[in-house]
């Protein structure tokens, strides 16, 4: 969808060479891997499966430890499972689940959570270098990521406090859309590009 192009455009804007690809050879050649995504969890997993990308991504990211950035659905897919329209298995790289926003009756909040919302830092990270705590990013999602692992970079408030970005070793992921978040978003992408692999 439009999202892929927006992400590509944003990387181009900061002068980074980026390729949209499902080609195994190209993915193996890449220095860093980005998994964007808007849409349903089940479709996302199905597409990865059909393209034979689940094993390939595992090899490149979990085994070879290539730097990875998941955006929106690309973050949610890292979880063990999602409860989006039934129970769907995810990549299970992180012990996490994905659940729909569910508010008490007296809280009148709209789903999807769409718009600009601030992120509250929970951990210091090079991903947010030069970006102020409480900066606003652009969100569009109905489901959110839950984990007990100590990997939370930021949370955001929407009826409840939910996880808006994470980092586990070489894996970075955010629920919001940096490619649509103006200056702070481009800065985040630039920070990601500047991350040095520990290998």
């Amino acid at each position: 969808m439009g999202n892929l192009k927006s992400v590509q455009k944003a990387f181009q804007k900061i002068g980074c060479d980026v390729v949209i690809s499902n080609n195994h050879h190209e993915i193996k050649e890449a220095d860093k891997i980005i998994l964007p995504g808007v849409g349903a969890f089940k479709d996302g997993m199905k597409h990865l499966q059909e393209l034979g990308l689940i094993e390939l991504l595992y090899e490149e990211i979990i085994v070879k430890k290539k730097l990875f950035l998941g955006i929106c659905l690309g973050m949610q897919l890292l979880a063990t499972k999602s409860y989006e329209n039934g129970e769907v298995e995810g990549l299970n790289w992180i012990k996490a689940s994905v659940t729909k926003f569910n508010f008490l009756q007296n809280i009148k909040l709209k789903i999807p959570h769409t718009g600009w919302n601030n992120i509250i830092y929970k951990m210091k990270t090079p991903l947010y270098k030069g970006i102020l705590n409480n900066s606003d990013f652009y969100f569009v999602h109905s489901y959110y990521f839950k984990t007990e692992e100590d990997i939370i970079l930021s949370t955001t408030e929407y009826g409840k406090e939910f996880i808006s970005s994470i980092n586990k070793e070489n894996i970075y992921a955010c629920q919001f859309h940096p490619e649509k978040s103006q200056k702070v978003g481009l800065k985040l992408l630039e920070n990601f590009v500047n991350l040095k692999s520990e290998l």
């Binding site: 439009g2 192009k5 927006s6 408030e157």
Partner: protein, 249 residues
């Protein structure tokens, strides 16, 4: 906290961006790409572009121009005008828009809203409602169909039920008038909908935005003020912030 948005809303006509006055006359704002670039540089929350060549003159949607505009936008972009099919939506989103706005097709066929929101997600379907006051009663107005004997609030509720993600509410009488937003109109919508309402038409000064939001608008859209006055979108947001409204600065 989710922020209230201030959104420039401009029209695309004869390959130029224009601002309409009461839906009739137009003033040129500038070239689409350079205008989008300026808005991007001004760090606006979102941008709405309505293609009136496509909606009124029945021309094909200007996909290339939309793409050029999208290339300059690192913020959400809503495109409307002339959308008649799911395929049109696909093309517009594929050109780089994040949301699409529909008007005539939504009036003609509620099922279309449902199909579109199922396929692309409710968050990207904005239903636009134009309103005109006739003998002191608010009526729905459509550029090709004229006055429709329907209450705007009821129409918005129907749209919501069929899967609209947002309502773009424009007062035709106030549009381009610089008389401020139609506060009486937005009051009618207070607590009526679960989806956000973007109020459009008439902002003259930052105070107008404050009144609109205090009276129930989730976001405000405007054009005239950003092009033909000294105020920038940020001035509006500062006014909101100073009055306790959550905005993104």
């Amino acid at each position: 906290m989710l922020k209230h948005r201030v959104i420039p809303c401009v029209l695309l006509k004869d390959w130029q961006l224009v601002k309409s006055i009461g839906f009739n006359s137009f003033r040129t704002i500038g070239h689409p790409t350079s205008t989008a670039r300026v808005y991007n540089a001004r760090n606006v929350d979102e941008l709405i572009v309505l293609d009136i060549d496509a909606s009124v003159d029945g021309e094909d949607i200007n996909i290339e121009i939309i793409q050029d505009i999208a290339d300059e936008c690192f913020m959400p972009l809503t495109i409307g005008g002339g959308i008649k099919s799911l395929d049109d939506i696909y093309k517009v989103l594929n050109a780089g828009a994040d949301k699409i706005a529909i008007n005539t097709i939504a009036l003609e066929n509620r099922e279309f809203i449902k199909e579109a929101s199922l396929r692309f997600g409710t968050q990207c379907i904005v239903c636009s409602i134009d309103v005109k006051k006739i003998d002191d009663v608010y009526k729905v107005f459509n550029k090709t169909k004229g006055i429709i004997d329907k209450s705007p609030v009821n129409l918005a509720k129907e749209y919501q039920e069929y899967g609209a993600g947002e309502i773009l509410l424009t007062s035709v009488d106030n549009e381009g008038s610089q008389n401020g937003y139609d506060i009486e109109l937005i009051q009618l919508f207070q607590n009526q909908l679960e989806i956000p309402i973007i109020l459009n038409g008439g902002m003259k000064e930052p105070r107008d935005a404050l009144k609109a939001i205090q009276n129930g608008a989730d976001a405000v859209a405007a054009a005239y003020i950003f092009h033909f006055s000294r105020y920038t979108p940020n001035d509006i947001k500062l006014e909101l912030k100073n009055n306790g409204i959550e905005v993104r600065i």
